[in-house]
């Protein structure tokens, strides 16, 4: 994912902004990392460039 995707994402549970943490980047694109809600602190994984915005427990 590109960094600017963050502008149009929010926490699916409480709609607050998300904080991005990148653990792996390739050619400028975020490959691995996390999005963390600034309000409820729920963590959403980014795997192989794709953020998973399903609530914990619905991610299987």
């Amino acid at each position: 994912m590109h960094d600017d995707l963050l502008e149009i994402l929010c926490c699916p549970l409480c709609k607050a902004d998300l904080t991005l943490k990148v653990t792996k980047r390739e050619k400028g694109e975020i490959e691995e990392g996390t999005l963390t809600c600034t309000k409820c602190a729920t963590v959403f994984p980014i795997e192989e460039g794709i953020p998973n915005l399903l609530p914990p427990g619905e991610r299987d």
Binding site: M1, C10, L53
Partner: protein
């Protein structure tokens, strides 16, 4: 929109390109620079076509295999499509254009229903419109001021009359038919443009 080529990768867990996919992708109007969301992208034909038209596209699906398939297809074509795993709108803000080809088939009896991938792609609840209703309730707050949506609507089975007005209550939304009707065995497809504040 002009379609991208139809030679997209196939995964048995992903809804393939069918007449409904083609009708939505051909009928939806996307202008360069617009922020586009395709909800439930499946194979991603509409997303790829919107990206080629110059839209800044985000495609979502609950099915991770659909997202991987579309990721490969976009890379192969040099098109930029952002991806996220999501269930309709939660986790997403507002867009200029929202595209949706929902699961629209009435639920099958328990013993006949297929894999979870099939259910996600096909099962629209008892009358086929449950997912569409849920999407319509959430839609208005996810459209920008100039925002509009294109919805694939299916009558299964066809009522026998041409749809004159959007047949589901869409509170605060104006609707006009912009594609179809297209008759297939057992179903009639149309595409509706939805505008807020009408």
């Amino acid at each position: 929109m002009d379609l991208v080529d139809l030679d997209l990768p196939v995964d048995p867990r992903v809804y393939p390109i069918r007449e409904d996919s083609l009708l939505l992708a051909r009928t939806a109007g996307v202008h360069a620079g617009e922020r586009v969301l395709e909800v439930g992208c499946g194979s991603g034909l509409a997303s790829l076509s919107a990206a080629r038209a110059g839209g800044r596209v985000l495609a979502t699906d609950v099915n991770p295999y659909a997202l991987r398939t579309l990721q490969r297809a976009a890379r192969q074509r040099g098109l930029s499509v952002a991806l996220a795993r999501a269930d309709l709108f939660p986790g997403l803000r507002a867009f200029d254009v929202v595209l949706f080809n929902p699961p629209y088939l009435p639920s099958l009896p328990k013993e006949e229903e297929g894999s979870r991938w099939d259910r996600w792609a096909l099962d629209g609840g008892p009358d086929g419109h449950d997912v569409t209703r849920r999407w319509l309730r959430q839609l208005p707050e996810h459209l920008t001021e100039r925002g509009r949506a294109y919805l694939l609507f299916a009558e299964v089975p066809p009522s026998g009359e041409l749809p004159q007005a959007f047949p589901l209550p869409a509170k605060g939304l104006g609707a006009r038919r912009v594609g179809g009707p297209r008759d297939l065995p057992g179903e009639r497809l149309s595409v509706w443009e939805l505008l807020p504040g009408a």
